[in-house]
């Protein structure tokens, strides 16, 4: 059935002259979207990457998840409470939640799923968040009764819920044990999400089909949680690595909804038959400064660089004027984002020059590392280079392939400065933790800062947390371990028959909100 309508569509598209919205007559209940790479697998938290998580998020759910302001809200849990000492978390599960195979979800499956990811035998990196590798250790996690699940920690950990809500672990997604074969090997996901994993033709497309018996929460939709009332029968993801091609396809009516770069967005904005959604995300675009580079040893050099670069101009340029600077690591939508976080070293070339003179800079090379990759890594670096050179820095640009840059990032070698991006950290403490620490790759190795970050992750007192975050922000601005740029703008282009689309800071697609007109 689907196929025939598809043919009809194509033939129609083939006969229509000009790029009239041929899409307008496409199959009622299919939305064609683009994935920039094939999914790495269907096993949430195991065979994954940022790209794959988006697909996983459609068919798997966890006990808790993120709301649109990154607060943690219950999902499969009806409610949860935390003991006084902060060591015991008890989750009350919702009743009548159905797995895709029709069976009802109980604490039994929740426990099984937890062990699948966090257990010793787990193949998932997620277990490292809970087995003491990074401090926190989960002592026990077990079903008390059919609808009660309990987790005990070895220490109080403020961001515990935030951690189990992580996208890269599918929110510690709950799956039915039949998802794996008898021998324990992965078979196919049997989750609770509003969509069921459908056909996957490697390198070509992935399909998700609506789960008819999905039982929704009553609240309105909120972030990745809340009510989910899916309408579109099939979410069809074509694998299109070339952004340009994806856009061309959208305009030709082969795709209904694609992520765009700023340029494409501004092109499409005014075109009849198309809509563009523009949303600021929590993805932090920044320039990491190499803490071990002697040239940068003098803090004044780093400050000079910060003053020489104008985040506003750059953000404006790479977002076609849609976005503005927000150099703080803390995303504006975070509840910890105050006027303190809004401050940053002003763009002041003169000041930069004087600082350079004081520091006795004379033409040492500032090697900017970048890669040609979605996310304007290259464009950002290019513009920074231009500005640094204006200020009198001897800035050179080296464009390498992504793998090479990652290696440089991990080993902390081969760069003075690199344009980089961090995926959303939905807790202000984590926003600093992602580049603070004593590993070589971390840009901020100041012991005090590290201590502060650690505290921010354990304290459960909101005021204290705010105080710490503010303190970190001030130190960040004066020590300049990295030069913040802003939080990436997400552009989504769609044919105007698509209704209900709404992006959010985490940038994770929520297929269940999509509607197709007529």
């Amino acid at each position: 059935m689907k196929k025939n309508t598809r043919i009809f569509a194509t033939l129609f598209a083939a006969t229509v002259i000009g790029c009239a919205p041929a899409g307008a007559v496409m199959a009622q209940s299919v939305v064609h979207m683009a994935l920039n790479a094939d999914i790495r697998g269907t096993n949430p938290g195991v065979t994954r990457d940022g790209n794959t998580d988006i697909i996983h998020a459609q068919f798997v759910e966890g006990l808790v998840t993120y709301g649109k302001n990154f607060e943690v809200i219950p999902m499969l849990a009806d409610s949860y409470d935390v003991s006084e000492d902060g060591l015991t978390y008890t989750f009350k599960l919702r009743h009548g939640v159905k797995f895709h195979n029709g069976e009802e979800m109980t604490a039994k499956e929740v426990e099984w799923s937890w062990n699948r990811l966090a257990g010793e035998a787990s193949e998932s990196h997620c277990k490292n968040y809970f087995n003491g590798e990074n401090g926190l250790k989960v002592v026990s996690a077990k079903a008390i009764d059919d609808y009660t699940f309990e987790i005990k920690l070895d220490r109080p950990y403020a961001v515990f819920l935030a951690t189990i809500a992580r996208f890269d672990c599918g929110s510690m997604g709950v799956l039915h044990p039949d998802s794996v074969n008898a021998d324990g090997s992965w078979n196919a996901p049997i989750g609770t999400g509003p969509y069921v994993m459908g056909e996957h033709l490697p390198g070509r497309y992935v399909e998700l089909n609506r789960f008819a018996d999905y039982v929704s929460r009553d609240e309105p939709m909120n972030g990745l949680g809340g009510g989910k009332h899916a309408e579109v029968d099939t979410l069809h993801f074509d694998i299109v690595s070339e952004g340009a091609v994806a856009k061309t396809a959208l305009m030709a009516g082969d795709l209904d909804l694609v992520a765009l770069d700023a340029m494409a967005a501004s092109e499409l904005k005014d075109q009849p038959g198309f809509k563009v959604d523009i949303t600021q995300s929590a993805v932090w675009d920044t320039y990491l400064l190499n803490p071990n580079d002697p040239v940068l040893a003098d803090v004044r050099i780093r400050q000079a660089m910060a003053h020489a670069i104008d985040p506003n101009q750059i953000m404006a340029a790479i977002t076609e004027g849609f976005g503005k600077a927000s150099p703080s690591p803390v995303p504006p939508m975070s509840k910890n984002f105050t006027e303190v976080e809004a401050e940053y070293p002003a763009y002041d070339v003169e000041l930069a020059k004087t600082l350079m003179k004081e520091a006795g800079y004379n033409g040492e090379e500032i090697k900017i590392l970048a890669t040609r990759r979605n996310g304007a890594y290259y464009e950002r670096a290019l513009m920074a280079q231009a500005m640094l050179m204006d200020a009198g820095f001897n800035a050179t640009l080296e464009v390498v392939e992504w793998g090479t840059q990652l290696e440089a990032y991990r080993t902390g070698e081969g760069y003075t400065m690199q344009s980089f991006s961090f995926s959303p950290r939905l807790h202000a403490g984590l926003s600093f933790e992602m580049f603070t620490g004593d590993d070589v790759r971390k840009a901020w190795q100041d012991p005090e800062a590290i201590a502060l970050v650690q505290e921010s992750l354990t304290t459960r007192d909101p005021e204290r947390l705010q105080a710490i975050i503010d303190e970190l922000s001030r130190r960040f601005n004066e020590q300049v371990p990295a030069i913040g740029l802003g939080h990436r703008m997400l552009f989504t282009g769609m044919s105007d028959r698509i209704e209900g689309f709404e992006d959010w800071g985490a940038g994770v697609l929520r297929g269940w909100m999509l509607r197709t007109s007529n």
Partner: protein, 282 residues
């Protein structure tokens, strides 16, 4: 002397030579002077329409397109020329040795060449770029390796056929050493096909470079090469087709020159050799 006269008396020879001359001139000019700094971005003046100020307009970073094309000409051409050196030198060496001394050396060489042939230039490129660091030398080495077999085969072939001639035996009878015979009698006669091949190869390399850059494996930006100008323009083709059109036309013109001249050369020097004009190898 008369040879060049003959060459230029032919339509394709003349036109080819002219076009190539223009390209080379632009390249050399682009090396020393361009209307604007081809790397200088001007964020307030992006995608400027062609005007007196910017003859071909500006690109997505407000850089002057004409300047970039001129510098690009230099980069592409210089890469093309310097890539010729290694394969021609080594290829002649190996080819001559294999063709003249035969035996195990020949067999081994052929085997390695086959291996090289069965090996996508693409990966050689990436591998070497990774090892050498992303810079034009990576490209040069990669392409050199990729084209070594072609030269070696041609030289080997013509050495083999020249060796059939009686003057080679005559030399042996006079008591001349094999090396002397190779250098004095055989190699000079391999020159013709080699020249033709080299000309054509220049074209192949221009193409390969642009193809590599198109895949993001070529000359790393911001340094402009015709290839990476094109691949940068890719995203804006629909709205600013000129950005994609111009570099493409530049490449085509250069290649047309090479191919025409190469054809004329071949007809003049060795009509039998089937050296075909440029063609992507990646």
């Amino acid at each position: 002397m008369t040879f060049f006269a003959r060459l230029l008396s032919k339509a394709n020879g003349l036109i080819g030579a002219l076009m190539l001359a223009i390209v080379l001139f632009t390249a050399c000019l682009g090396a020393v002077w361009t209307p604007y700094d081809p790397l200088k971005s001007d964020l307030l003046n992006r995608f400027a329409e062609p005007s007196m100020a910017h003859l071909f307009g500006t690109d997505m970073f407000g850089r002057d397109v004409l300047s970039r094309l001129m510098r690009g000409a230099w980069v592409s051409v210089s890469i093309g020329l310097s890539t010729l050196v290694l394969p021609v030198a080594l290829g002649t060496l190996f080819g001559a040795a294999a063709g003249y001394f035969r035996g195990w050396f020949d067999r081994l060489l052929i085997m390695v060449l086959d291996a090289l042939m069965a090996f996508p230039g693409l990966l050689i490129a990436l591998g070497l770029m990774a090892v050498m660091g992303a810079n034009r030398y990576g490209v040069i080495i990669a392409l050199s390796v990729a084209y070594l077999p072609a030269v070696t085969r041609v030289v080997r072939g013509s050495v083999l056929s020249i060796s059939q001639n009686e003057f080679v035996e005559a030399s042996a009878v006079m008591g001349n050493s094999r090396l002397y015979t190779l250098v004095v009698h055989i190699l000079p006669n391999c020159l013709a096909p080699l020249i033709v091949l080299t000309t054509m190869m220049f074209g192949w390399i221009l193409l390969a470079e642009s193809a590599l850059s198109f895949l993001g494996l070529g000359v790393p930006p911001p340094e402009p090469s015709w290839g990476n100008i094109l691949s940068e323009a890719k995203a804006h083709l629909i709205r600013y087709p000129l950005l994609g059109l111009l570099p493409g036309i530049c490449i085509s013109l250069a290649l047309l020159g090479v191919n025409l001249l190469g054809d004329a050369l071949r007809d003049e020097l060795d009509p039998k050799s089937g050296v075909a004009p440029s063609k992507e190898t990646i």
